[in-house]
């Protein structure tokens, strides 16, 4: 038991092999995602390479790719961070009713003002309004439920879920009163799709996402501690409550941007986070974030490429991702020993 000879280290990986594997996997996935991107941009382009309309087509596709990039960054970082903040690997931030709030905002618009206003309700103003509304809701929820004598994470989650359910019943009621044509317009908006996003809001979304992403990266050493749970992190000198609220605000900003861009995705983030834990044998969030981002991007671009060019089924990409994520979730909870 010669304690002194054991070298203590706080490296991100247990041994060099894990580290090497991590970088190998990461670069392979990165290569694949570049391939998928390239495919999305130029594959099956109806116009030949030298015609003048080749560039506009690519430009339109390029916008979709940028949206995917933003969404995958948002969803992957926020899900990983959220699971560490709550030290619970089977939940996703979309539980907190972001999608319900989003659906409520849009359904209310079409319900009160009709489809003509609704179609115009997508631009910089409404986009900012949505994000502000969502972040406000989260601030109220966390501030109220996480602070004070009775502050409790599980409780906050449950209340978030129930608020989501309440909002969902409200918006589904309004949807029942819509004419079928209006219903179709609304449904197109509510299903996550990269074609929903409009370019103006991207100009705001990209810098915001990059800023929040950098903040999360800087926050990752705290996350390493927080993922060990409240007691441990408190005993090694992290102010648990304050850090959690700060982290959750970052998460809520990312989630709102993603939801406002492409609508609701429940299990996409979960799928990405789960896969990235499998692929990276480390506790260190800097590495996990990196992996999650690459995986997230690959999943979404790969899914779109396959659905658009192999199966020719354009509308249901997000539904497919959700299904795969949902099945992953089922497998996860049936394999887990404790929660």
């Amino acid at each position: 038991m010669n304690q002194l000879t054991i070298k203590r280290s706080a490296k991100a990986f247990k041994n060099a092999k894990d580290q090497r594997n991590f970088w190998i996997v990461l670069s392979v996935l990165f290569g694949l995602s570049l391939l998928a991107t390239y495919g999305l941009l130029v594959f099956n382009n109806p116009v030949p390479f030298d015609s003048p309309s080749f560039i506009p087509v690519v430009r339109r596709r390029f916008t979709a790719v940028v949206v995917m990039l933003v969404v995958s960054l948002c969803q992957s970082l926020s899900t990983v961070a959220f699971q560490s903040l709550t030290s619970n690997k089977i939940i996703t931030p979309s539980l907190l009713g972001f999608d319900a709030l989003y659906a409520t905002i849009h359904t209310t618009t079409i319900f009160l003002f009709g489809s003509s206003v609704f179609i115009n309700f997508s631009g910089l103003g409404p986009f900012i309004l949505q994000i502000v509304l969502m972040v406000m809701m989260c601030l109220i929820l966390y501030g109220w439920l996480l602070s004070g004598k009775y502050g409790d994470l599980q409780l906050m989650l449950l209340v978030g879920v129930i608020i989501g359910t309440g909002l969902r019943s409200l918006s589904s009621f309004m949807r029942r009163l819509l004419a079928p044509s209006e219903f179709d317009i609304l449904q197109a908006r509510l299903f996550g799709s990269v074609n929903n996003a409009n370019i103006e809001s991207l100009y705001l979304a990209i810098p915001l996402v990059i800023c929040v992403g950098i903040l999360l990266f800087m926050f990752s050493h705290k996350l390493n501690a927080l993922s060990l749970g409240k007691d441990v992190s408190t005993s090694i000198g992290v102010n648990h409550q304050r850090s959690v609220i700060y982290g959750l605000i970052l998460v809520s900003i990312l989630m709102s941007i993603s939801t406002a861009l492409v609508g609701s995705l429940t299990f996409y983030g979960f799928l990405v986070a789960t896969l990235s834990y499998q692929m990276s044998k480390t506790y260190d969030h800097k590495h996990i974030f990196l992996m999650a981002f690459v995986i997230g991007y690959l999943v979404i671009t790969g899914a779109y490429f396959i659905m658009n060019h192999v199966f020719n089924a354009q509308g249901v990409v997000s539904v497919i991702i959700e299904m795969v994520g949902g099945i992953t979730f089922l497998m996860m909870i049936l394999r887990k020993g404790s929660l």
Binding site: N88, I90, I91, T92, L95, Y150, D152, Q154, L155, L157, L158, V159, V161, I162, I163, T165, G166, R168, S169, L170, S172, F173, R175, R176, P180, F183, Q187, T266, F267, G315, V316, V319, I320, E322, M323, G326, I327, F329, L330, I333, L334, K336, G337, S338, L339
Partner: protein, 337 residues
């Protein structure tokens, strides 16, 4: 609460035999609740767009729509509340009910599958599909609960709702593939608007379920104490659990096929009764049934008068009001912990 046996100490050396002690049922407050429910029922009978007093065929209409509607309100109110109660006993968790375990979503998926497989399914087929799927779904959830150690009881409804979301994603996908999304929404929203003579009679199955739960009450209470204790006291744990789940799925299947989704009823009612009266299942049952009837009838009356002559689906009112009550209940619980 344990086994409802109370020994009375009567001086030294005189021991009384164990006597089954029941609290009285017909107390003042219970009678008051009965009267309230009866009044609500009467209001429900005379609410509606059709003038049953002034028209010639008023009496006929009264028996074709109003009476069935009121009856089905009473039946589903009692049934959904009892389902919640049984579920909470079996899982030993106060926050469990069909909405928060995904049972409702499973039932919806079952309905959808029946529509996909059979071109124009009869009601019996639809119910069969819903019952089967909710049974499977609830069993999956319970198996999961038995295998997993939980750090907090609050995580159970969260996992249940995640499960529900997975099932919803499946339903959405199938609905998209067969172009039935708006109809799915229609089924999931619970409403009593379509209830009339000849369309609701299957709800009487619920009455049998109520009687069954009443007979089985003590065994269910024991099961609620956990597997070891129940087995020690001579209860076949697995059988009771299976029967309990079968009961739950039967009720949820029937109600979701005939009426639709009624969220939170099974959660609010038993919790309110427990807060007021403690946890003796057998003496709580009548209270739970009555309160369930009262709440759903009140909600339905609101739903019929809000935008006369049209009506709002009752599940909207239940969902909004129910989620509010749910949050209040959780916050109360947090004070007590």
């Amino acid at each position: 609460m344990f086994l409802n046996f109370k020994t009375k100490e009567r001086g030294a050396g005189v021991s009384q035999p164990l006597r089954l002690h029941r609290s009285k049922l017909w107390t003042k407050s219970f009678v008051f609740l009965c009267v309230c429910v009866i009044i609500l029922g009467l209001i429900s009978l005379f609410t509606g767009a059709y003038d049953i007093v002034g028209q010639d065929d008023g009496l006929q209409m009264f028996f074709i729509t109003r009476v069935p509607r009121t009856l089905s309100l009473m039946l589903t109110g009692a049934a959904m509340s009892m389902t919640g109660l049984v579920m909470q006993l079996i899982t030993q968790n106060r926050l469990v009910e069909p909405t928060s375990t995904g049972t409702i979503e499973w039932a919806g998926l079952g309905l959808l599958m029946v529509y996909v497989v059979f071109p124009a399914p009869s009601l019996v087929l639809r119910m069969g599909g819903a019952i089967l799927f909710s049974f499977v779904g609830t069993m999956i959830f319970f198996l999961f609960l038995r295998r997993v150690r939980l750090r907090s009881s609050l995580i159970v409804p969260i996992v249940g709702m995640m499960l529900g979301a997975v099932i919803s994603a499946f339903s959405t996908f199938i609905g998209l593939a067969f172009q039935m999304t708006q109809s799915i929404e229609g089924w999931f929203v619970g409403s009593f608007a379509n209830v009339q003579m000849g369309r609701y009679e299957t709800l009487w199955i619920i009455l049998a379920v109520v009687i069954f739960v009443y007979v089985y009450a003590d065994r269910l209470t024991l099961v609620g104490l956990g597997e070891d204790i129940a087995t020690n006291l001579g209860v076949n744990y697995n059988t009771v659990i299976l029967l309990g789940v079968a009961t739950i799925s039967l009720v949820v299947g029937v109600v979701s096929a005939v009426i639709g989704n009624l969220p939170f009823l099974g959660l609010i009612v038993p919790n309110i009764v427990s807060l007021a009266r403690g946890d003796d299942l057998r003496s709580n049952l009548p209270w739970v049934c009555l309160l369930g009837m009262g709440i759903i009838t009140a909600c339905d009356i609101i739903s019929r008068t809000l935008i006369m002559p049209f009506e709002v689906p009752v599940s909207l009112i239940l969902g909004t009001f129910g989620s509010f009550v749910f949050i209040v209940l959780i916050l109360k619980q947090r004070r007590n912990r």
